[in-house]
Amino acid sequence: MATTTTMNKPEMKPDQPGAKSRIDIRDLLVRYGFIAVTVIFFVYFLATIPAFRMSSTMFSMLKFTSVVAIAGLGVTVTMVVGGLDLSVGATAGMSVTVAAMTMVIYAQQGSVAIIAVIVAGAVIGAVNAIMIVWMKIPDLLATLASMFLIQGLKLVPVDGQSVSSGLILRDGTVAPGKFTPGFLEINRGSLGPVPYPVIIFAVLAVLTWFLLSRTKWGRVMYAIGSNPEAARLAGARVGRYKAFAYMLSGVYASIAGLILASRIGQGDISAGNSLLLDAVAVALVGTSVLGAAKPNAFGTALGAILIGILLTGTTMMNFQYYWQDVVKGLVLVVALIFSFTLSRRKQRFVAAVPL
C-alpha cells in the first residue's frame, strides 16, 4: 500500500518529553527522587550506626524484607492488569498452616509440603480468577471475599489451633511429624553469604521484571490494566491474562508463605496477618521508582528494600516498634507525591483503586 497522504498536525505540546533539552528539576525528582531517598537513608545509617555496616546486617535485612517483597511482586502483577489482590496475606498465612499440616500431622517430607503449599496458592489464584474473570466480580471485592474465606477455612482442619510438633490430634494421639530440617533450611540456609530467601526474592524479581517488560504477555497485561476494552478490541484474550495474573499472585503469596513457615517453624495461625498491607504498600511505592508511574517489578523490589532499610535502621537506633508503621506510611506518602503530585503524567495506574 503506497499511501502518500500526509496528516500535518500541530505537534509537540510544550510540556511533552523531548520538546525541551534543559534540565528540569521536577523531572529529575520524579525520576530519581525515590532512589535518592533510598541512598540518603542508606548512607545516613551507614555513617551513624556501626552495626549497620556489617554485611550480615545487610543480608539479614534483605532476608527480612524478602517475604513482603515476594508478596508485593504478586500484588504488582495484579495491579498491572488493573486489579489488586487483597488475598495475598491470607494466602501466605494459609501456606504456613498447610506446610505445618503436611509435615506435622501427615508426617510428610519438606518437599511434599513445598508442593502442597504452591499448589494451594495456585488454587486460590484460580478461585480468584474464576470470581473475577468468569463471574465478573470486581477484583477488590472478589479478593476481599477470598481473603476472609481463606483466613477462616484454613482454621477448620486444625480446629483453630496453631500446628506444632507434639500437637494432640482430635483422636487423642500425638501428631507424628515435625518441621523437617530441610524445610527449615529454606529460611536458615544460604549460598555463600546470601540467604536462600534473598536468592528466591532476587530470582522472582528478575523473572517478574522479565515477564512484564520483555514478553508479549507483559505488554498485553499493561494494556489490559490501562484499557481492557481496547485490549479486547485489539484481539487480546483479556480473561486469560487476568486469570494468569491472579494465579501468579497466588503462587507468589504461597512462596512468601513458605519462607514465613520456615522462619516460624510452626503452623502459627496468625502468620501473614500484617503481610497484605505491607505488600500493597511496597507495590504502590514501586510505582514511583524512576518515574515509571505504573506498577513494575524493579520498583516493587526497590520499594521493599527501602522499607527494609528504614525499618532496620530505625530499629537499630532504638526507636519504639510503633514507629515502624509511621515510617511505612511516610515512605508511601513520599512515593505517592513523586507519582502523583510531581509527575506530569497524572494518570490512574491502579484501575481497581478509586483515586
Binding site: A2, T5, T6, M7, K9, E11, P17, R219, S226, G235
Partner: protein, 264 residues
C-alpha cells in the same frame, strides 16, 4: 428500496442481521453491502442501531442471527480476533488505545512482533511504526512516550496506522473525526480518499451529515434498529437524507411540508 447498481461480488454482504438487548431489537433484520473502494456511511439518530450493526462486523459484539459474507464466502465473526482474520480493522470513536504504553506497542497490541527467542522485538515494532507513520503523518515523532501524552489527532494517527499496517481490506471508522479539530478532520478526510483509492472498503459511522456527504458513496440510514434505506449520495439531497434519519421516510415519500418541518 436499496439502490444496488454494482454487479461485482461485494467485499461485505451482511444479511438479515439481528441483535437484541433484552426485549429491545437494537438491530432488526438489517441487510447491507460494501464494495471495494467504496465508502458506505451508516447514519441514524442515537439508538438507531448503527454502531451495534457495525460491531457485529468488527467482532466487538456477537450477532444473534444473520449471515455475513466476506468476498462472497460465509464468515464466522464472533470476536475481534475473528474479524482481523478477514482483514477487517476498526477505528473506534473512543480511540481504543491503551494509555500507558507507547504508540508502536499500541499499533501491535495483541499482534506483537517477537525476536527469535520469543521476546518482544521493540525495535522492529518501532521501525515498522515509523515507516507507516512516515506515510500517514510524517510529523509524528512521539514513538517512545505513552499515548496518554498524545493529542487527539496523534492518537487517531496511531489508530489509523494500526489499520494500515495490518493491510486492512475492510475498514470500519466509528465517528473518526468526533475527537478532532477542523484541521485534523480535513486530514482524516484526505486519508479516507487515499485508502479508498487503494480499493479498501470503508464503513463510516457518523452523526455529521456534512462529513457523510463529503466522504460517502452510499448512505445507509437506520432508525430504531431497522434499515430505512440505502441511497446513492449523488441521487439525494441533504434534506432528503435528514428526512430519512428523522422521520424514516424515503425520498419520494417525504412531502415538501415534511422537508420544511425539518428546518423548524
Amino acid at each position: 428500496m436499496t439502490t444496488e447498481t454494482k454487479q461485482e461480488t461485494p467485499l461485505v454482504d451482511m444479511r438479515d442481521m439481528r441483535v437484541a438487548f433484552g426485549g429491545v431489537h437494537a438491530v432488526d433484520g438489517v441487510n447491507i453491502t460494501l464494495f471495494p473502494g467504496e465508502v458506505v456511511a451508516v447514519v441514524g439518530g442515537n439508538g438507531a442501531g448503527k454502531t451495534t450493526l457495525i460491531k457485529t462486523l468488527s467482532g466487538a459484539h456477537k450477532a444473534d442471527s444473520g449471515t455475513i459474507l466476506i468476498n462472497g464466502e460465509p464468515a464466522q465473526i464472533e470476536t475481534p480476533r475473528d474479524a482481523k482474520q478477514y482483514a477487517i480493522e476498526t477505528i473506534y470513536q473512543t480511540l481504543a488505545l491503551a494509555e500507558n504504553i507507547d504508540a508502536p506497542s499500541n499499533m501491535f497490541l495483541g499482534r506483537e512482533l517477537k525476536t527469535r527467542f520469543g521476546l518482544l522485538d521493540d525495535s522492529a515494532m518501532e521501525s515498522a511504526a515509523r515507516s507507516v507513520m512516515g506515510r500517514l503523518n510524517p510529523k509524528f515523532q512521539n514513538f517512545k512516550v505513552p499515548v496518554k501524552s498524545l493529542s487527539g489527532g496523534q492518537r487517531q494517527s496511531v489508530a489509523i496506522a494500526r489499520a494500515v499496517h495490518f493491510n486492512a481490506k475492510i475498514l470500519i471508522m466509528d465517528e473518526p473525526t468526533a475527537a478532532l479539530g477542523p484541521l485534523e478532520t480535513s486530514q482524516v478526510t484526505e486519508l479516507i480518499q487515499q485508502l479508498k483509492a487503494e480499493g479498501i472498503g470503508i464503513f463510516l459511522i457518523s452523526h455529521d451529515i456534512h462529513d457523510v456527504f463529503d466522504l460517502a458513496d452510499r448512505i445507509a440510514v437506520m432508525m430504531q434498529g431497522k434499515m430505512v434505506g440505502i441511497v446513492n449520495k449523488t441521487e439525494v439531497t441533504k434534506d432528503e437524507v435528514l428526512a430519512m434519519i428523522i422521520m424514516g421516510k424515503l425520498p419520494g415519500e417525504a412531502t415538501q411540508s415534511d422537508i420544511e418541518h425539518l428546518h423548524d
